[in-house]
């Protein structure tokens, strides 16, 4: 077999101009363009319909509002509370979700026995339960952490369960033919093939986690960015309201990117990561 017919070992050819544009530069161009477009449409709508600043403030006012909010006394405290609730709740969801997903994924009869309960708890609009948790766990952080944990738990648990079930039979055969023990099979095979599913669950879970924290703060207590939204609303301060919303969006973005970064670290070999690599780096 001649070796010259094979692609060069790990050689990465130089990307052509068009490829470079599509792959590496694209986000750097498209993102600002999109941003400018959004701002332009925003201003256009205000001008066209003559919208009052109490309903929809000008973009620059929102930016001004953000600076004001960020500098205001107590903001860091609110941010810290929301972040803490989200992260602690998410961590709990991660541990319980992966643990339970792994157990249910392996023990078929248990999953079948519990299936009605799982389906029911999925169908229940969990946000509707938030007042209940506030009654049970009080107006402090605890009730919000519980809400966050419950919201983030389901996508993580269900994906982990799916992951444990999705180990390729052919790869299992390899381990079986090598007479691998339980631990080796877990560490060399099951762990790696389940991780992508866990990360898919985490990507959904982190978004749900922030929703949980903010909704919890709407409904009870006097701390957190959700509370700040309620205060702005009551004061009919649209500028501040928009500013907090943008800040929350940025926070969500940052947390989501943190999960994606973890994913790249843990499963660099996976298609989902390779796709990201080819389009952004």
């Amino acid at each position: 077999m001649s070796s010259e017919s094979q692609p060069a070992p790990r050689g990465k050819g130089r990307a052509s101009g068009a490829e470079l544009l599509r792959g590496k530069l694209l986000p750097w161009i498209s993102t600002p363009v999109l941003l400018v477009l959004v701002v332009a449409v925003w201003k256009l709508v205000i001008a066209a319909f003559d919208i009052s600043p109490y309903v929809l403030p000008q973009p620059e006012e929102v930016v001004g509002g953000m600076v004001e909010v960020v500098q205001s006394q107590g903001f860091m405290g609110h941010l810290w509370v929301t972040l803490t609730e989200t992260l602690i709740g998410f961590a709990i969801a991660l541990v319980l979700g992966v643990g339970m997903g792994a157990v249910l994924g392996r023990i078929l009869w248990l999953e079948r026995a519990l299936r009605p309960l799982i389906v029911a708890s999925q169908v229940v609009p969990k946000v509707a339960l938030v007042p209940l948790f506030i009654v049970w766990f009080g107006f402090g952080m605890t009730s919000k952490i519980v809400i966050v944990a419950i919201l983030a738990f389901f996508p993580i648990m269900l994906n982990s369960l799916l992951g444990v079930r999705s180990v390729e039979p052919g790869q299992r055969d390899v381990m079986r033919s090598l007479n691998a023990g339980r631990w080796a099979t877990f560490w060399r095979l099951e762990y790696h093939s389940t991780l992508p599913y866990v990360f898919a669950g985490m990507e959904i879970g982190i978004v749900f986690a922030i929703i949980g924290a903010v909704v919890g703060e709407y409904l009870g207590g006097n701390q957190g960015l959700g509370y700040l939204i309620v205060v702005s609303l009551n004061a009919l301060n649209a500028q501040q309201l928009f500013a907090v919303i943008v800040i929350l969006t940025l926070l969500g973005f940052a947390l989501f990117l943190a999960v994606v970064a973890l994913k790249r670290l843990f499963i660099p070999w996976h298609e989902s990561v390779i796709g990201v690599d080819e389009s952004t780096t």
Binding site: P9, R10, R176, L178, L189, I267, W269
Partner: protein, 282 residues
Amino acid sequence: MRETAAAGQGVVDGRAPSGDHFIEADRITMRYTTRRSSTLALDNVTLSVAPKEFVALVGQSGCGKTTMLRILAGLIRPTEGTIRIGGQHLWHGSRRDEQTLRMLGLVFQDANLFPWYTVEDNIGLPLRLRGASKREWRTRAGELSELVQLAGFERSYPRELSGGMRQRVAIARAMSYNPEILLMDEPFGALDALTRDRMNLELQSITAATGATVAFVTHSITEAVFLADRVVLLTPRPGRIRSITPAKFERPRTLELQSDPAFQDTVRELRRQLYEDEGQDR
């Protein structure tokens, strides 16, 4: 050539004519039972392979080739019958004999590589499971990469390789611990004709060099006759041995052999039997 009884009339004995048996499958019956149906995949199949012999299993789709190989590999336990390898029973009750398993190397139709490991890690996996030191398994992985013409790709991931290259990694992995027996299930099924020819030549030189005993499943009669010492033709529903055909051509074989009249006669005869069975099949 030993033309044997047609399917259904008596049982064809697939034991090695030399009387020297390394792998012995004795009266193997395999019935798959699912909730809906029950399939008799193998019916009373007796087959043996002599030391250093190369046996090819051919037959139409669904005739039980994979089933037979998985039984030889100890991946499934036959409903009836016994497997002995080097005189040792493969199964003790529901447990498999550890020493015997270590003599087997498996190559599947899909390479079944682990995408999270590099080529080197994939090849080294069996040795790592046996507790080899890092230096040991890496050295061996390097040697084997060279043997299967993949030197320079040790650090590549499976996704960066072509189908044929992946299959070669799988072969290297199966050979990493020097198994006396190679069990291969259509290892080159997914390859183009040219690559396949190359792989066949390579497999021949590898088995000649290592003196391995091989059971090889394929769809291609030409491939079977080219590689094997004996070709076992199976018939479907239920899976039985239709005929045993010796392929006594001199080794090492070159691709020119395929235009040899004796070679072509053997291929033609096997093909005739294969189509005959298909005609019978409803």
